[in-house]
């Protein structure tokens, strides 16, 4: 490691050599842990202190709203701490272009690995504090100037301890549901089992017909209405691939359904000259995410009929 590294930290004041060496060792260890997909030492230690504490005497951190907290409290759901996981992943794609519709594997892979690592770390933190579930998980994409051409996912949520009746059988469960929603599902006899997500990125070259319709030639675009079959098919391919993976993940989690599916689509154009005609190829990115759920007969259901109300507010 460069000697400059050690110096710039801690405001440049020279430290006791033994202390500095211990710090360097910790950093090395943290990095090694990260490379194995784990969380750094500092985080692990902070969380470990929370795990032993009696929850009733605990000062907790959470991003719950006041109402949400009040409801959870009355249901016996105890927030423990804010937990997070993140990962920045370098995209290896060099911007080559393709003659046939292709999945840009390296970009898809970067998104999926980054998200997997971030969620893995979130789960690890949750396990460390001895929580039963994470509610209200927000998965956000970050972008940094210092890491151009990379993707980042950050997952943040509130780890909670559940009353014994709601507790799952196999470890903590991640959901992107609010606390209220979590409880409502359980009350209806449905248990959330995890988050399913996938990204696929496809490259769709413009066919000759598309290039002509969009105005490659000297006369500008075509005057006629027409569907662009190649682009439509490309969008279908990308979307269906992402959805199929999400469905498979849910099946692997033992779910019998996915609710709250969000589809996010980005299309960008890429100007290329093919056979002397300038045209726009399409790069399409699909993010699909949802909460996997399973009907669980062991949950005590209280069948409530909804009532129609007239809000006076």
């Amino acid at each position: 490691m460069s000697p400059l590294f050690g110096r710039s930290r801690g405001g440049g004041t020279p430290k006791d050599p033994a202390q500095a060496q211990a710090q360097a060792q910790r950093d090395e260890e943290s990095l090694a842990r990260m490379q194995q997909g784990h969380i750094p030492l500092n985080a692990a230690e902070r969380l470990a202190t929370l795990a032993d504490t009696d929850p009733s005497s605990l000062a907790f951190a959470s991003d719950l709203s006041v109402q949400e907290y009040a409801l959870l409290h009355s249901l016996g759901i105890v927030p423990v701490t804010l937990v997070m996981g993140s990962s920045i992943y370098q995209v290896g794609w060099q911007g080559t272009y393709y003659m046939v519709p292709t999945e840009i594997q390296s970009v898809s892979h970067a998104y999926n690995e980054s998200r997997r690592l971030a969620l893995g770390r979130l789960l690890e933190e949750t396990t460390l504090v001895g929580a039963d579930a994470v509610v209200g998980v927000r998965i956000e994409q970050g972008r940094h100037d210092f890491a151009a051409g990379s993707v980042e996912f950050v997952a943040i949520g509130t780890a909670v301890r559940l009353p014994p009746a709601l507790r799952g059988h196999d470890g903590p469960v991640l959901t992107d549901l609010e606390g209220q929603e979590f409880w409502q599902l359980c009350a209806a006899g449905i248990r959330p089992v995890g988050i399913a997500a996938h990204t696929s990125v496809h490259y769709v070259p413009a066919s000759w017909q598309t290039a002509r319709a969009m105005g490659g030639g000297m006369f500008g675009g075509s005057w006629y209405n027409q569907e662009l079959g190649d682009f439509t098919q490309g969008v279908y391919d990308a979307r269906e691939k992402a959805m199929t993976y999400v469905t498979q993940q849910a099946a692997a989690l033992g779910a019998d359904g996915i609710i709250g599916v969000k589809l996010e689509e980005h299309a960008s154009g890429r100007r290329v000259a093919r056979g002397g005609i300038e045209c726009d190829d399409m790069i399409i990115t699909f993010h699909v995410i949802g909460t996997a759920v399973r009907e669980d007969p062991s949950l005590a259901t209280d069948a409530r009929t909804p009532r129609t109300i007239l809000s006076l507010a």
């Binding site: 409502q184 005057w223 662009l228 099946a251 709250g260 689509e265």
Partner: protein, 269 residues
């Protein structure tokens, strides 16, 4: 376009595999928890997220500068592309053996890199009734509805059911004012009658077309009509009026149905 329920034209291999999984019992849906629970409460179970989309090149039409007129090429493009997206979505629902599709969103995406290019997309959750009561539209097609789960539940409480989304579209060129007109009006409060008339025309055409679709579907009425004016990058004088709503019919055996009185509540939030 003729409707062929058995067609899976355009659905890629991966998509067929997904629908197969959905048929095997694993559902997907974009309903929120509340919507999901209410749809179940209403006696339906979700089967799968169904989607139809089409990327469409919208043609070109020259409008005469000083004339109010419908841009028929553009109107047709909007109709045709939406129809393609909706029909593909219905085909997927049919593949799943659904009674209908709830929570349909019909969006148009435009890309800054592709002029005259638009993506039409229809997404919704295919549902089937627990009891096997047939809830399809009279035409045999799966019903479609853009009502949320909450609205869907409430509608069923009133003894009605949706038959399908109906829409009307009209792309219209609003004539420019002549130099003489603008000069005459300088500094005056006057109604710009030709503008008012143009917007009236366009709106009425869109509404009339939507109503015609509802009549054809043998509906009793249309709820949740959304009427908006949009411009899709055709310049400031070319606008689209788009009317969309859910056509409904009385549910079977609902003649003596009583609508429960709502309970007034005061929300403390």
């Amino acid at each position: 376009m003729a409707y062929d329920p058995s067609s899976t034209e355009g659905v890629p291999e991966a998509g067929r595999a997904r629908l197969q999984q959905n048929r095997a019992g694993l559902f997907t849906s974009d309903l929120s928890v509340n919507e999901f629970l209410l749809v179940r409460q209403a006696g339906f179970r979700p089967l799968g997220l169904v989607i139809g989309s089409s990327i469409y090149h919208i043609g070109f039409q020259q409008a005469s500068y000083r004339q109010n007129q419908e841009m028929t090429v553009l109107s047709q493009a909007m109709y045709h592309a939406r129809e393609l997206a909706m029909t593909r979505m219905e085909e997927e629902a049919d593949q799943l053996g659904a009674d209908g599709v709830v929570g349909v969103r019909l969006d148009i995406g435009r890309y800054e890199w592709g002029e005259n290019l638009a993506e039409f997309i229809a997404v919704g959750t295919a549902v089937k009734h627990h009891g096997g009561e047939l809830h399809r539209a009279p035409s045999g097609r799966p019903f479609t509805s853009d009502l949320s789960g909450q609205e869907f539940w409430t509608l069923l409480q009133t003894g009605h059911r949706p038959v399908g989304m109906v829409m009307g579209s009209c792309v219209y060129h609003v004539a420019h004012q002549s130099m003489r007109q603008s000069l005459r009006n300088v500094g005056q409060n006057v109604e710009l009658a030709n503008y008012t008339q143009a917007l009236y025309d366009a709106r009425e055409l869109a509404m009339e077309r939507m109503q015609a679709e509802a009549l054809e579907a043998k509906a009793e009425g249309i709820v949740g009509v959304d009427l908006h004016e949009r411009s899709h990058g055709w310049g400031s004088h070319v606008i689209e009026f788009f009317a969309i709503g859910t056509a409904i019919i009385p549910a079977e055996g609902s003649e003596d149905h009583v609508i429960p009185a709502p309970q007034p509540v005061l929300d403390l939030s």
